[in-house]
Amino acid sequence: MEKLFPKLQIINENGEWNDETYKSEITEDLTKELYTKMLRSRLFDRKGVNLQRQGRIGTYVPFEGQEASQIGSALAMGEGDWMFPTYRDHAATMTFGHSLKTLFLYWKGRQEGCIPPEGKNIFPPAVPIASQLLHATGAAWAEKLKGTDRASIVYFGDGATSEGDFHEGLNFASVFNAPVVFFNQNNGFAISVPIEKQMKSKTIAQKAVAYEMEGVRLDGNDVFAVYFHTRTAVERARKGEGPTLIESVTWRYGAHTTADDPSKYRDQNESATRREKTDPILRLERFMKNENMWDEKWAEELQESLTAEIEAAVKEMEEAPAPHYNDVFDHVFAENPWPIESQKEAYTHSRGDR
C-alpha cells in the first residue's frame, strides 16, 4: 500500500527539488506568501501557548509543526468555498480568512470566536471527532444541487479515521459525488495513541479505495506538495469529478493541548530531531536560500511585522468588551421559547439587573 500511495513530495527536507512539475508556478511571490503565512501561524501558535501559560486564555490547542499541511491546503481553496476545521486547524482558518482576534477570542472562551467574517464560509471548530466530515459533505452537496462550482474542505486527524462518521462522510460524498476534499492530517498520534494502535492499514490514503475515490498521500511538511496536490483535488471537485481523500503526513511537536503532557507517551527527543530535520518552515527557508530568494533583512522585518500584528490582535482580544449574559439565552432559537425567556428573566432578576 505504501507503494501504491507514495508520499508525494515537491521539495525535500534540504529544500532541494524532488519533483519539478510545478516549477514554473513556484515563483518568488508564491514562495514568500507561503513562508509569510506559515511564519505568521507559528508565531500565533507560540503566542497562544504563552497566553495560556500566563492565564490570559483558556486551554489552547497548538499545531506547531503542521503549518505546511494547513496553509498549503487552505490556500488551495477559493472564494465562496467551505471550510470545516477541527480545534487544531487555526492555521488553516486564519489563512482562509478568520481574523487573529477572532481566533484568540475562541481560545478565550468567547462565542464570537465561532463567527467567521461575513462572506467567509468557515464553520466553527468541530469538537466531536469526525462529525464534521458529514457537514462538509452536506454543504458541498448543497453547492452541487445549486449548480455552483464551489467545494468544501474538511480537516481531521488520524484518530478520526476510526470513527463511524469518517466512513459515513466518505461514503455519502462518494455516492452523491459531492465536491469535497477530505484533508487528513496524519500527525501520528491521537492524543497519546500512536497510529499503529489506531489502524492496521499502512496508509490512510488507501481507505479511499473502498469508496471508489481518489486517494493521495503526501509529505505534509512540504508546503508545495500540499498546495499543488490539494489544488488538483479541488479542481477535480469543481469539475464534478468527485471527492478526494488526502493524507498529509506531518507531526505535531508539542502537546495535544496545553493540558496534555506528551512526555508521558512519547520521547520528545523525536520532536527535537524533527525540528532540525523536517520542519516545514525551515525547509522552505532552505529552499529559498538554494533558489536565491532568501533575504535576511526581509525575514527579520517580516518577523517584526508579524509579531506586531499578533500583539495587536492580543490587545484587541483583551480589550473586547465582556460578553453579556444575554448571549447565553438569546441565540438558542430564532425566538426564545417561554422556558428560556423565563429563565433569562429569573437570572436577570437574581442579579438585581431588573
Binding site: 467551505w82 462565542q111 464570537e112 465561532c114 463567527i115 467567521p116 464553520f123 466553527p124 468541530a126 469538537v127 466531536p128 462529525s131 466530515l133 458529514l134 457537514h135 462538509a136 459533505t137 452536506g138 454543504a139 458541498a140 452537496w141 448543497a142 453547492e143 444541487l145 445549486k146 468544501s152 463511524g164 462518521d165 459515513e168 462522510g169 461514503n171 455519502f172 455516492v175 448571549d327 441565540h331 438558542v332 432559537f333 430564532a334 421559547p337 417561554w338 422556558p339
Partner: protein, 331 residues
Amino acid sequence: MTTAVDTKKLTMVQAVTDGMRVMMKEHENVIVLGEDVGQNGGVFRATDGLVAEFGEKRVIDTPLAESGIIGTSIGLAMNGFKPIAEMQFLGFIYPAFNQIMTHASRIRARTLGHFTVPMVIRAPFGAGVRAPEIHSDSVEALFTGMPGMKVVVPSNPYDAKGMLISAIEDPDPVLFLEPMRCYRSTKMDVPEGKYNVPLGKAARLQEGSDVSIFAYGAMIDVVTKAAKAAEEKGIKCDVIDLRTLYPLDKDMIAESVQKTGRAVIVHEAPGTGGLGETIMSLINDTSFLYMKAPVERVTGFDTPVPMFALEDHYLPSADRVVQAIEKVTQF
C-alpha cells in the same frame, strides 16, 4: 362571505405525505432524504409518490446510515436547503444522536445566530403495533431535554399536516414524531393546500371541570376512551392534547388545572425523566395553590419496551387511566 376549502379524507400517514408535497411544491429548497424514501416511498409509505413528482434530486434514497443522514442534512440546511430527514423508526435514531446533540441543536447558539440549521427530522415512534424489537421506543424526552430542539407529536391527520407545514417553516431544527398507532387508525377531513397548526400550542379535545388529562400522540385515543368511561361515572375530564412537547403550552396547562384542581398525565415513555415530570413541575410553578390532589401519572415503566407479546402490559391502558382519574377525584 366564506371561501369553501376543498378537503380530502386522509389517514395520518397520508396527511404527512400531503404536508411534504405542499411544501415541496411551494419551496424548491425543501428536500426529503432517508432510507427507502425514494422508489419504495418509505417503509410506512409516508413519502409515497414524492420521487415521481419531484425527482431523485429532491427525494433522496440515502445510504443506510442515520448519522450520515443527519450530518449531511446539517450541511445542507446551513447551506440553503430545508431537509426533511426521515429516521425509519425513532428507535433507530441513536447513531445520529451525536450529530443532533452536538451540532444540529446548537449551531445557532455556538455562532450567535450566524449559522442555523432549519431542518425537520421525522420519525415514526411508539409501541402497540406489534413491531419487532427496538422499533417501538418512545424516547422523546431525550430530545425535549436537548437545548435547541423543538419536539412535536401530532395525534390526528389534520394536526399532522398542519404541524408538519409549521415545522418545515420553522427556522430551527424540529423533531417531528409520528405515532405509528395513529398512522392508519382514522381518516379525517384534511384541507387541501397549505394551512398551519402552530407549534407550541396544545389543543383542548374535551371540556370538563373535574380532572385535567394531559397526553399526546397515540395516548390520545387511550385517554379519550378513559374520559368517556369516567364521564359515565359522573367525572368530567378536561382532555388536552399537548401536541408540542418542547416548548410546552404552559398557558393551557395552567389554565386547565386552575379550573379542575386535579391532573392526570399520560405518556407511554418511561416515567423517570419523562414529560410527566416536566408537566408536574410546571403545575407546581404555576398552580400549586389551586391543586386539590397530588398529580397522577400513568406512564410506561422504567424498563426497555418489551417484545410485543408483553407490550400491552407496558402501554398505559384506558383502564389504568380511569383508575388514576378516580384516585385524584377521591383524594
